[in-house]
């Protein structure tokens, strides 16, 4: 926990899961130390899309991490324990299906919901991803970024 500014003290709020910084003059600085901000882990090799994700998630008050390839993704997910994974299927070196399968086989990671966002549009791809344990399969050209963010918020339980 960070130190409060001089002249203030910390007041944890167990209801909101936030820590407020109370100044001695009575001013309250809210959300200064939000220790339980929801976190999304995005596996996406398209830099354009990743930048837009980051911007939109930040605007929505959601923390995010990014990984460009399938290879290092699972290890990072194990280390970071995100609340939600957004997964592209067409990744260099190790595709999204292999990553999804690996996540769902790991009992420590299997409970993390996975939202697939892909350019692959066939029903067989959708069915395969859902069989592997994805919560939902969205096709990139059929859903706006705002729709995707709304889905993310829904899975994170954010209004």
């Amino acid at each position: 926990m960070k130190n409060p500014p001089i002249g203030g003290f910390l007041l944890p709020n167990s209801y909101t899961q936030r820590v407020h910084c109370i100044f001695l003059n009575g001013d309250i600085l809210n959300n200064t130390m939000d220790e339980h901000r929801k976190k999304v882990f995005v596996i996406e090799d398209d830099e354009h899309i990743s930048k837009v994700y980051e911007m939109k998630l930040l605007q929505a008050g959601i923390a995010s991490s990014f990984e460009k390839t399938g290879e290092g993704a699972v290890a990072r997910i194990a280390a970071e324990r995100p609340d939600l994974i957004v997964l592209d299927m067409m990744l260099p070196k190790k595709d999204g299906f292999a990553v999804l399968e690996e996540i769902k086989k790991d009992p420590t990671l299997a409970q993390i919901p996975v939202l697939v966002l892909s350019n692959l549009g066939q029903q067989s791809d959708r069915d395969h991803a859902l069989e592997l344990g994805a919560k939902e399969y969205l096709i990139k050209v059929e859903h706006s970024m705002q729709e995707v963010i709304d889905r993310v918020k829904q899975y994170l339980g954010i209004a």
């Binding site: 899309i49 837009v52 050209v141």
Partner: protein, 278 residues
């Protein structure tokens, strides 16, 4: 490329809407058919040199900002754009070959036909690089296509460099080349449909690329007629035959230009842009 240059290319591209390209093509047809009694463009060879307008447009496309930067789509675009530029440059070669270097007409016609074939093989190659994600045997197809493209390119260079080779082009070779263009063109359209089903992001581009292939097949047909003087028996002069072949290829290039522009503003999540100032 600097931000200013990118903005300039974006502005240039905005001028060439589908309607503007339609007007351009109609203007070309009217100018070619009616200026100088309808023979000026043929006698001066300018009917070939008009291709430079389209080469300029292709260069605009090459240096434009596309919506994606993922590895598969970038690779597809790189291959497609390279062959698109090649197709545009074919008619610059035709002008230089016929008017400046004064190569043998049959050699130039055969080179143009083979170049159309190379372009269609390039379309296959770009889509094969996408379908690799699905089908392992695409690696074999990519290798085969690369060999065919290389052999065709070597043949084109060969007939242009060696007069012995050029003089010994078999008469049936023109027809065989045209037959390959038809078969591969139809195959290319079917392949494009399949890949557009696998990846809907190609749908908008395919809507323009498929008629472009059809126009190219007909352009090749009229090139073949020109080489055999087939239409003169029906009262259609070789000049008119030449003009029709070029109108068709300029329509092909126009359709491809519009098709590529669809990759800049695809629907869905690609509609949201990251502010360049951030």
């Amino acid at each position: 490329m600097s931000h200013t240059q990118m903005k300039l290319f974006t502005q240039l591209e905005k001028l060439f809407t589908p309607y503007a390209l339609l007007v351009l093509n109609v203007a070309i047809i009217l100018a070619v058919e009616f200026l100088g009694g309808g023979r000026f463009f043929e006698e001066t060879g300018i009917v070939h040199a008009i291709a430079i307008i389209f080469v300029g447009l292709i260069i605009v496309q090459i240096f434009s900002d596309y919506a994606f930067s993922d590895f598969i789509l970038k690779r597809f675009l790189a291959v497609q754009l390279a062959f698109f530029l090649f197709l545009g440059l074919v008619h610059i070669y035709e002008y230089v070959g016929l008017r400046i270097i004064t190569l043998d007409e049959g050699t130039v016609e055969q080179s143009v036909m083979i170049s159309y074939l190379i372009w269609i093989l390039g379309v296959f190659l770009s889509f094969a690089s996408v379908s690799r994600i699905y089908y392992k045997r695409s690696m074999f197809m990519i290798a085969l296509l690369s060999v065919l493209i290389s052999m065709s390119a070597i043949y084109v260079v060969g007939i242009n460099v060696s007069s012995v080779l050029a003089q010994n082009i078999m008469p049936w070779f023109h027809l065989a080349t045209f037959a390959c263009i038809v078969l591969l063109g139809v195959g290319g359209i079917m392949y494009m449909n399949r890949v557009a089903k696998i990846m809907p992001v190609f749908g908008a581009y395919a809507r323009y690329a498929k008629p472009a292939i059809i126009f190219l097949i007909f352009a090749a047909l009229f090139e073949y007629f020109e080489s055999t003087h087939f239409l003169s028996a029906y009262g259609i002069s070789d000049t008119q035959d030449l003009y029709i072949a070029h109108f068709l290829i300029y329509a092909t290039l126009s359709l491809l230009f519009v098709g590529f522009s669809k990759f800049k503003n695809p629907s869905g999540i690609y509609e949201e842009k990251y502010p360049s100032s951030v």
